[in-house]
């Protein structure tokens, strides 16, 4: 891209949560930030939120299904209000969070939205990703980059609490707990619903709370107090495997946590109590839970800070923090893009270049076995990690070996190659010269892990592609 010229793209974030659904649209400004004597480096230099939707109740068709047409109507009406078309949306993510992700039509819903609500809108889900996106939206991630403190972001919504711990902008770990406002619901002063995990916990505590009982703070507060205590234990890495509130893996960060912040619906009641005085707004235990968190003595051990976003942290994270920009010198066959949901197969080169080059065909065969066992043509991205500085001749043999190996796949597919080092253009060029009929997507300056999923958008005017990395999708 030309120096000092800005490109603007629109990004959407849609969060379909247990109790609420919200949407944000933001405008990204891209610019070449490298000096005139350097190769271009395109970066997102500004993100401006141009539309925030109100907070809607998530439309449910029945207890087990999301009302798909209703959600879509809601999204499109917000687009209209913001004055944008689906086709204007060049990047972003739709995330389905908390209990909603367990609904029977969750996957169908999210894929439908991702295909219809934008040019390149990425479908995301999964508790780890939810934690990460919330921490990025709440400002915890930025805080960790600015200070030398280890920070935990605790995002508590209707169904789950998602924790992500950052230090120097680096993710140290995530954890998900069955803690949320809607785990106990009331109707006309009576307890209407208790989530199974909470029932189990209540039994362990010997707390006499049952569906159909009259809602009394005195009987329910011990439960929310226990939840607050569980959060304290989790922060200290002292959670038992048998903990009924634990969802998924145990926490395991190696640094003690210095600071914490809360985001999500419940956090609104922690930092802005006044907004929550109407206890019956959601008719659940959100307010009580906030009270327990504020009062719990163990949680007073950490420094509390206020997030930049409370209830909209996740949707802001999805809309403004999921997109990365590839290196500026890349080589892609444009008609192969966008590519969605590519699993990442990592091939490390730290053991020596020549040795790994010999093993490459075998490794790619293994990757086919893993990601496309039925030979249906599921493509994957090859991530060449720890590449040494390659010379021209090595680059030629790498290109040749890669293409030869990729061609052995059951179906002819574009070769998708992702590099850490700024070498994509030369690799793509070598492939193009040696094998002009092989379609290829070679991008660089992207950091992913084995098992991540990757979506690659269409080439922007600046010559870069937007990339969304997902650490886990449906599991």
């Amino acid at each position: 891209m030309d120096h000092n010229k800005k490109e603007e793209i629109l990004s959407a974030g849609i969060d379909i949560g247990t109790s609420t659904t919200k949407l944000v649209i933001s405008k990204f400004s891209l610019m070449n930030t490298a000096g005139g004597t350097h190769m271009p480096r395109i970066e997102i230099i500004d993100k401006e939120v141009i539309h925030k939707s109100p907070i809607f109740r998530t439309p449910l068709a029945s207890g087990n299904e999301i009302d798909m047409p209703e959600v879509e109507k809601l999204v499109l009406s917000q687009y209209e209000e913001a004055g944008v078309q689906s086709s204007d949306i060049k990047t972003g993510a739709v995330i389905i969070t908390g209990e909603t992700a367990t609904k029977s039509n969750a996957e169908e819903m999210i894929n439908h939205l991702s295909a219809h609500a934008g040019d390149f809108l990425v479908a995301t889900a999964g508790p780890d990703l939810e934690s990460i996106i919330a921490a990025r939206g709440s400002g915890a991630y930025d805080y960790s980059k600015k200070t030398n403190k280890t920070i935990a972001n605790i995002d508590i919504g209707g169904g789950t609490a998602n924790i992500a711990v950052y230090r120097y902008g680096e993710l140290l770990g995530t954890c998900t707990l069955h803690i949320g406002g809607k785990l106990i619901e009331m109707k006309a002063g009576m307890i209407d619903y208790i989530a199974p995990s909470v029932k189990k916990m209540a039994k362990q505590l010997g707390a006499p709370v049952q569906e159909g009982d009259r809602f009394e703070e005195a009987t329910v507060k011990p439960l929310t107090d226990y939840m607050a205590g569980t959060i304290a234990a989790m922060l200290k890495n002292q959670l038992n495997e048998s903990e009924p509130l634990l969802l998924g893996h145990q926490p395991g960060w190696e640094y003690p946590i210095d600071v914490m912040m809360f985001s999500g619906g419940v956090s609104e009641c922690i930092y802005h109590e006044a907004n929550c005085e109407a206890t019956d707004m959601y008719d659940d235990i959100g307010v009580l839970l906030a009270k327990s968190l504020t009062e719990h003595p163990d949680l007073a051990n950490w420094e509390w800070i206020e997030p930049t976003e409370t209830v909209r942290a996740t949707v802001l994270g999805a809309g403004t923090q999921t997109t990365e920009i590839s290196g500026a010198t890349i080589q892609v066959d444009e008609d192969t893009l966008p590519l969605r949901n590519l699993p990442v197969y990592r091939i490390p080169f730290d053991g020596g270049f020549d040795e790994q080059l010999v093993r490459l065909p075998q490794l790619i065969e293994e990757a086919v076995e893993i990601y496309d066992p039925a030979k249906e043509g599921q493509n994957f991205a090859l991530y060449l990690a720890d590449l040494p500085l390659l010379g021209f001749k090595q680059m030629q043999s790498l290109a040749d070996t890669l293409v030869t190996a990729v061609r052995k796949k059951p179906k002819q597919q574009p070769a998708v190659i992702v590099l850490e080092r700024d070498l994509a253009k030369s690799l793509g060029q070598a492939i193009r010269i040696q094998h002009p009929d092989q379609q290829a997507v070679c991008i660089d300056q992207i950091y992913v892990e084995h098992g991540d999923y990757l979506d690659i958008g269409k080439v922007l005017q600046s010559g870069v592609v937007p990339v969304v990395i997902k650490t886990l999708t449906f599991h």
Binding site: D2, T37, H38, N148, T329, K393, D422, L423, Q429, R432
Partner: protein
């Protein structure tokens, strides 16, 4: 750090080294204890025994510049060797990772530690070697580049008379006339400039990758050659003779203490004797720690394509792009 500062530091070092023997030591194994707090530093000699060592023959001497190329990868040796406790180390690493400058290297009294000091001396020596060294001829042969000279006769005059480095010698003109194709779209030339090491390390990868890139773009490339002891504006003289549309000059950069092997690619649309500096453009910092050489070659192809499209380079190109 600029050249003047380096020179000043070197001067201080050399004078220190020269001064040392005057405080005669009778025992080589003794330890000098400096009292830094008093106004006039004063040295106490702590002897560790009766063993009298022979007086060292001569003193440490800064050698003349033509040291043979060493097979040491100084990037590897730069990694800090001692690690303080994890927490502090992590914090420090966050800072040191952001710069190749010598920060957080510790000290011994008011001086740098021995390793830091040796590394500094090594890097400085490498920079000097790069300026005064010669490009490996077998590399030029491999790449099929013939060699011509500028009006410069020796390195001393190369440094003192930049204007000589900007003009071809009469023999060079004859040879170019006889061997090079006239008026190609792209003319590649190579010169050692201020770092022969930069050419040794990066030329092959940049050059081959650039050739490949130009080929895939379908551009017509002239007969490339090597110019000994050239400066950037030598391209004007070449342009005047061969009349190419674009010249790309791959030239060794003035070495620094971070890298002595950094190469630049200067590009210009129709360089002639009346070309002004603002029409030149450059992709600099091509070396293992900067822009990877193969990638630089591939990227240069697209820059050349743009120059040809707009029929302009440098500031003029920026203006035309709008």
């Amino acid at each position: 750090m600029d050249q003047a500062m380096i020179e000043k530091i070197t001067e201080i070092v050399v004078s220190k080294l020269n001064d040392q023997p005057e405080e005669k030591t009778s025992s080589q194994e003794g330890v000098k204890v400096w009292d830094y707090n008093s106004e006039k530093p004063n040295v106490t000699q702590v002897s560790n025994g009766s063993r009298q060592a022979e007086e060292a023959e001569g003193k440490a001497k800064i050698s003349t510049f033509h040291t043979p190329e060493k097979q040491i990868d100084n990037k590897e040796t730069k990694a800090p060797k001692q690690q303080p406790d994890k927490e502090v180390w992590d914090d420090l690493k966050q800072l040191t990772n952001k710069t190749p400058a010598r920060i957080g290297v510790g000290r011994a009294g008011p001086r740098p530690k021995t390793n830091t000091w040796l590394q500094f001396r090594y890097d400085h020596a490498a920079a000097v070697d790069a300026v005064f060294g010669k490009v490996d001829e077998s590399l030029l042969e491999d790449l099929d580049l013939f060699t011509v000279k500028t009006k410069v006769t020796d390195k001393e005059s190369y440094i003192r008379r930049p204007d000589y480095g900007r003009r071809l010698s009469d023999e060079a003109k004859k040879e170019i006339e006889g061997r090079c194709r006239h008026a190609p779209q792209v003319q590649i030339i190579v010169s050692d400039g201020l770092s022969s090491k930069a050419i040794d390390e990066n030329l092959e990868d940049v050059y081959l990758s650039l050739q490949q890139s130009l080929k895939s773009l379908g551009l017509d490339v002239g007969t490339p050659f090597f110019i000994e002891k050239g400066r950037v504006a030598i391209m004007d003289d070449v342009g005047e003779m061969l009349k190419p549309e674009v010249i790309v000059l791959l030239v060794g950069e003035r070495p620094g203490l971070v890298s002595a092997e950094s190469m630049s690619a200067y590009l210009c649309y129709k360089p002639r004797l009346d070309t002004i500096e603002s029409d030149r453009m450059v992709v600099s910092n091509i070396h293992r720690g900067g822009i990877p050489p193969v990638e630089a070659g591939a990227y240069l192809g697209s820059v050349i394509e743009k120059i040809l499209d707009y029929e302009a380079s440098g500031v003029e190109l920026v203006k035309k792009e709008g």
